[in-house]
Amino acid sequence: MCELCQDLIDPKETKLAEVLAGYAGRKGALIPVLQKAQEIYGYLPADVLRRIGRGLKIPVARVYGVATFYAQFRLTPMGQNVLRVCLGTACHVRGGAKVLETIEQELGVKDGGTTEDQRFTLEIVACIGACGLAPTMMINDQVYGRLAPDKVAGILAQYE
């Protein structure tokens, strides 16, 4: 199949093409386009980065440079659930590191890693803005506050 036909068939590619067309010629488009592409694909595959470079007329080395600079961008697929453990100051002081260690043991992965069964991707973040509830973590969009190491297993078990 040629590239043109693929464009017509894969709905993700069509969406990306729409995004690129919407930003064509606009200044400062790269980061919002990468954000939208990540929404479409769940992560940023190399081919998508190349395509974005072509679409925005930006050298692909720069696209890659930007994609690897910002923590938000993922170049590998994520697990079904994204678990963000807060190690902001408030959480650190109230024992966030111990919660993290427990989670690392429980899941067998470290910061940025995805479990073998693709169930969780673990990320360390610095402050999710719920410091009053420290220590905290977020699974997908749900915030969990006032954590302790012994509460971890129960929460993780709720996710498929």
Binding site: G28, A71, A90, V93, A126, G132, A148, P149
Partner: protein, 653 residues
């Protein structure tokens, strides 16, 4: 005759204001109108709507306010509103009582928070099952639900209203005035609080230079970290030659542990827009950007709504209020890089580049976004501005100290009873903030230090608790106001670990452009890790001090230039803790896990098995007949077993 459904509707056919045919008196008309014609019916209608919006004492209507800030929302406050709406309907109260989602009250610890206006009754940690009781007892019966009131942990007294909870009593809320009280998704709520009056006054009654003079006279200094005088900054940008100028609002709030910008954006977004409009008019800019952390989706959503509303009523766009002034605001979502809070990196990021800072000069005021003169201020800085133009520079300058005027919001967190956002006049002492407002140390432990200013700041010991908090005194003491993070540390916090924590943060967030920061913070971190692991060497302190000096004096941007501060400050006030780790291989606070072991004292152990049951990594074995033992190689030293054991059989050494 009831023609107006909301305050935004024209009172009658005589009102001609639209964004295309702007009326210069539109803003004032919202609260004092109608101004272009005299009609008692129109006036009464407006007054009625205003009263409803404000639910002031004496109001016929009651409002139930629910905090929907991130903290309370995570504890389920949006669900509570639904339940309350249903209950109100069931009780047939829907004519006299309404619910109102608001922004954060700053007391997230006690969330979800519910307030009943006009009585100011303050309910904390409200659960779904409490709602029917609130309806029956309070809204119908007019009595307080005692068990939901906030009880001061030190005095044991219940606070009847939020105003007399000690957490709020000593605060002076200017920037946070509307947060937690108005519905941030409705511009009419903001109008009802005299919103946009400051902008209208500046735009219509003052020349740009006079606006800048007024800001200078108010003494306002930047709340984003360095405390640069705001009026001076605006003046420099105004003087820069250029046909095109930009305004930027720095909403990147990267300090891990500070969340005041988030609360303002979520709770009172129009105040930020109003501040930006005044700045744009003063400087001569016609476009503005708000650079907001991607981790703040709710703030972005509320800003989008606020911008749309301001456009719809003609406060953003062309020929604003028939003045000929044009201004538009765009939102840029950040992508997760602390260094993008630094203004030149932030500009690079808006331009779609890696967020690597640039050498200054040229300063953004000379060559900023896309090479054009650009003014950048912090969220809190902008939201102070409308108040200066509503009440005057002299009023504003009446708060604070000689060189630091106005109020500052602090994010009080850590080992303190009342965590949350506190806004106090500059110059209040740390003791008042931590002990009077914060209610003292959690669990009755002993205060050790307070960390101020996040990764660029420092730790101050007990002997400096009476220091008045303002820009200059803190810098002298080796800390800084920074973003306003105030993290309280108690006797169980290890100061070397705190230094290691911050270095780890800055090291991870270094952009990598310049050598001292990229390589130097890494080596400093390696030394600190070594010390906290009990592998410190005698010369480590000296090496740290030397590296700190070089990284500070030769790094390109503020990140590197301030990264060593947490190390230098802890070395200054807590050097003995470093020495204990290095020489005695001991952590005086019993916090560094490598220097700890947990064992079970067989004599004291009653074989209840509670420790084994609660150990998160299941490294405790034993049963009724075999003594309980901890497998030291698997133990993550979380301390849970020690906490759980009722017989004090778990020993930490």
């Amino acid at each position: 005759m009831k023609t107006m459904k909301t305050l935004l509707d024209p009172c009658c056919g005589r009102c001609t204001h639209t964004p295309e045919t702007p009326c210069r008196d539109y803003v004032r008309c919202q609260t004092e109108g109608p101004l272009c014609h005299d009609d008692p019916a129109c006036r009464m209608e407006r007054e009625r709507l205003l009263r409803e919006l404000k639910t002031e004492v004496g109001s016929q209507k009651q409002a139930v306010l629910f905090c929907t800030g991130t903290g309370c929302a995570s504890s389920g406050s949006n669900k509570l509103i639904e339940i309350m709406d249903a209950e109100i309907k069931k009780a047939g109260l829907d004519v006299s009582v309404s619910t109102r989602p608001t922004g954060c009250h700053g007391f997230c610890e006690q969330g979800p928070i519910v307030i009943i206006e006009p009585a100011k009754t303050f309910y904390t940690r409200v659960k779904a099952e409490d709602i029917p009781e609130i309806v029956a007892k309070d809204l119908v019966g007019g009595e307080r639900v005692e068990h939901l009131l906030y009880v001061d942990p030190t005095t044991g007294q219940a606070a009847t209203t939020y105003a007399n909870a000690p957490f709020y009593a000593k605060q002076h809320r200017i920037v946070l005035h509307n947060c937690g009280h108005i519905n941030p998704e409705r511009i009419e709520d903001y109008f009802a609080q005299d919103g946009y009056r400051g902008f209208a006054h500046a735009l219509q009654d003052m020349k740009p230079d006079e606006v800048i003079e007024e800001v200078k006279r108010s003494g306002l200094r930047g709340r984003g970290g360095a405390g640069f005088p705001t009026g001076l900054k605006w003046g420099l940008c105004r003087q820069s030659a250029g046909d095109k100028k930009y305004i930027i609002c720095n909403a990147d709030e990267g300090d891990p542990g500070a969340f005041m910008d988030r609360s303002v954006l979520e709770g009172d977004p129009h105040s930020v827009l109003e501040g930006m409009m005044i700045a744009a008019y003063a400087i001569g800019a016609d476009e503005g950007y708000i650079y907001c952390r991607a981790e703040y989706p709710l703030a972005i959503k509320r800003l989008e709504i606020a911008i749309k509303q301001a456009e719809e009523v003609g406060l953003l766009g062309d020929n604003i209020l028939a003045s000929g002034f044009n201004f538009r605001i765009y939102i840029k979502a950040g992508a997760g890089a602390f260094v993008c809070g630094e203004e030149t990196a932030l500009i690079a990021s808006i331009e779609g580049k890696r967020g690597m800072p640039k050498v200054r000069p040229p300063f953004p005021a000379q060559q900023g976004l896309w090479g054009k003169p650009t003014n950048n201020n912090n969220v809190e800085t902008y939201s102070n501005v409308p108040h200066i133009f509503r009440h005057g520079a002299d009023w504003y300058a009446g708060f604070g100290t000689e060189k630091s005027k106005g109020t500052k919001i602090f994010a009080l967190t850590g080992k303190v009873n009342n965590t949350g956002l506190v806004e106090v006049p500059m110059g209040m002492s740390l003791r008042e903030i931590i002990f009077d407002i914060g209610g003292g140390i959690l669990g009755g432990k002993k205060f050790k230090a307070v960390q101020i200013g996040g990764p660029s700041g420092g730790c101050l010991p007990e002997s400096l608790l009476d220091l008045p908090v303002d820009y200059d005194t803190l810098v002298q003491a080796g800390a800084m106001v920074g973003s306003g993070g105030l993290v309280v540390l108690d006797e169980t916090t290890c100061m070397v670990d705190i230094a290691r924590y911050f270095l780890n943060f800055t090291q991870k967030e270094s952009c990598g452009k310049c050598t001292p920061c990229r390589e130097g913070t890494k080596r400093m971190l390696e030394i600190l890790v070594r010390i906290t692991n009990g592998e410190g060497k005698e010369e480590d302190i000296e090496t740290l001090e030397k590296l700190a000096g070089v990284v500070k004096s030769t790094s390109l941007c503020g990140l590197g230039q301030t990264a060593p501060n947490p190390v230098l400050a802890t070395l200054k006030y807590f050097r003995h803790e470093y020495e204990a780790h290095i020489r005695d291989k001991q952590c005086p606070a019993h916090a560094c896990s490598a220097l700890l072991t947990y064992t079970i004292d067989e004599e004291k152990c009653k074989k209840c098995g509670l420790c084994a049951k609660n150990c998160p990594v299941k490294c405790i074995t034993g049963d009724k007949n075999t003594p309980y033992r901890i497998d030291a190689s698997a133990c993550i030293k979380c301390g849970t077993c020690m906490e759980k054991c009722k017989f004090g059989a778990v020993v930490r050494a």
